[in-house]
């Protein structure tokens, strides 16, 4: 465990909610508004943390545990993720699977908490979340298999860090396929347009938001913060592939990585401003397309 890895991790914990602010600012720019301040997510989080939670009499301990489990799982998953040239805190062979399943644990916690409320409305959201996740996971895992096969490294940090601009240019079709597949996964896992609109509360369309409806106070803050961390985690996968720069200078690496994350957030904002939500029935088709891209990338690597 190196000091700079810990610094990178702490920076990720601090900086994750900025992504939401950037996305909202880009969307506001496209709509011709001024938009909320970039740091609005922090204000929201602190406001929620100062409140006290209200629990329905129909809910049990699962409802209270859900947000905590989710936040803990994603914080643990983040320790395996390298940030630019800076290595991860923990790393062992096969931690790809652990990261994927920690995301699964996070989803499991949220879904169970939603089901525990007994509201049919939240059950609907849980069902949708699980349906989309079941289709997004193969794309994520097959993409990780591509990285293992390309680099020969069995650990996530080693695998992502053995990419360089030379290797990326030589196998550009594979990297492009992988980026497309993971970008779709990124959008669906973070409940973004075209799969879900995080800013509306329309019952027909909600997926992620509907599961957090009955949470309040610190619980809601944990869920929001966990979602921001998840966005940072999956975004880091993309940025590590997109900008495979390892200069050796930790500050420079971290700067380039941060710039990449901001670019990614801006890209998401542009997509959200220019695209409409998909019909719920069409969304699985796009996810299958993501799986198809991952499979194609795997076939190209295996040849």
């Amino acid at each position: 465990m190196k000091l700079e890895s810990v610094c990178g991790y702490v920076l990720a914990l601090i900086a994750a909610p900025i992504l939401l602010g950037v996305i909202n600012r880009v969307k506001a720019f496209f709509a011709g508004r001024r938009g909320p301040p970039v740091l609005q997510a922090y204000h929201d989080l602190f406001k929620l943390l100062r409140k006290s939670a209200v629990y329905s009499g129909a809910t049990g301990y699962v409802f209270k545990a859900g947000p905590l489990v989710g936040l803990a799982a994603v914080m643990l998953a983040l320790t395996f993720m390298p940030f630019g040239g800076i290595g991860s805190i923990f790393s062992f062979n096969g931690d790809f699977l652990l990261v994927a399943y920690l995301l699964g644990v996070m989803r499991f916690g949220t879904v169970l908490a939603a089901l525990d409320t007994g509201s049919s409305f939240e059950g609907m959201g849980a069902s949708r979340e699980v349906q989309f996740a079941a289709l997004a996971e193969p794309a994520l895992l097959l993409g990780m298999a591509v990285i293992i096969r390309m680099t020969g490294q069995l650990a996530l940090a080693d695998g992502l860090q053995s990419f360089s601009f030379g290797l990326t240019a030589a196998s550009s079709p594979i990297i492009i396929l992988l980026l497309m597949a993971w970008f779709i996964v990124f959008l669906v896992e973070n409940a973004r347009i075209p799969f879900d609109d995080p800013n509306t509360h329309l019952e027909l369309t909600m997926i992620h938001e509907v599961m957090a409806l009955d949470h309040g106070g610190p619980d809601l803050a944990f869920i929001l913060y966990g979602a921001a961390l998840k966005m940072w985690l999956i975004g880091a996968l993309l940025v590590n592939l997109l900008i495979p720069a390892h200069t050796g200078n930790p500050l420079l690496d971290l700067g380039m990585f941060g710039a990449g994350m901001l670019l990614l957030a801006a890209a998401v904002g542009i997509i959200e401003s220019t695209k409409a939500r998909l019909r719920l029935l069409r969304a699985p088709q796009l996810l299958i397309a993501a799986c198809a891209f991952s499979i194609l990338a795997l076939v190209l690597v295996l040849r």
Partner: protein, 211 residues
Amino acid sequence: MTENIMAVLILINLALTASSRLGGCINLVAVQGIAIGLLPLFAQEGLTLRGFLLAAFVVILKGIVFPRLLINTVRDAAVRREVEPFVGYGFSLMIGTALTVIAFWLGTKLPLSLSPSGMSLVLPGAIGTIFTGLFMIVSRRKAVTQVLGYLVMENGIAAFGLAVVSEIPLLIELGILLDTFVAIFVMAIMIYHISREFEHIDVDQLSALKG
């Protein structure tokens, strides 16, 4: 460059299996035809008059003439999109991916050695395109999509021929193109007549008697 064209071909195949808009499908097939037309320009022997003529003919026919014919037909028959294919679009996409994987496997098995490393995309791309065309013919209800499937299959065969065998005389290539042209022409007229007679172009219902 040949490799990149083949990659475009494979991606267009996948998009075709998942698309329900007839206009979008026709445009995709047109782009595929143009990509195939560019193949002779990058053949092994370099830029020759024969390759240039072939490229010009293929691009004009497959990129401009066929799509215009089909778009006119679709407009006259007043259909915008395919509804209820025999196989749903998500499942079609999975099958399309599986077909591509099979094509890659077949590409390694065939004794044709194109490039010494055996890493070429040419064989898998061409075989995958043929498979996709066949799949579109058997899995779609509307006559227009079936014609598109036939065109895609033809594209695959042409890609195979243009990229693998560069020794086919120009006249034979042009003869094949003429055959395809006549086939598409006749099919477009047929679709028009079917839609005028029956008010739809759903070939599945053609077997029912109509008084």
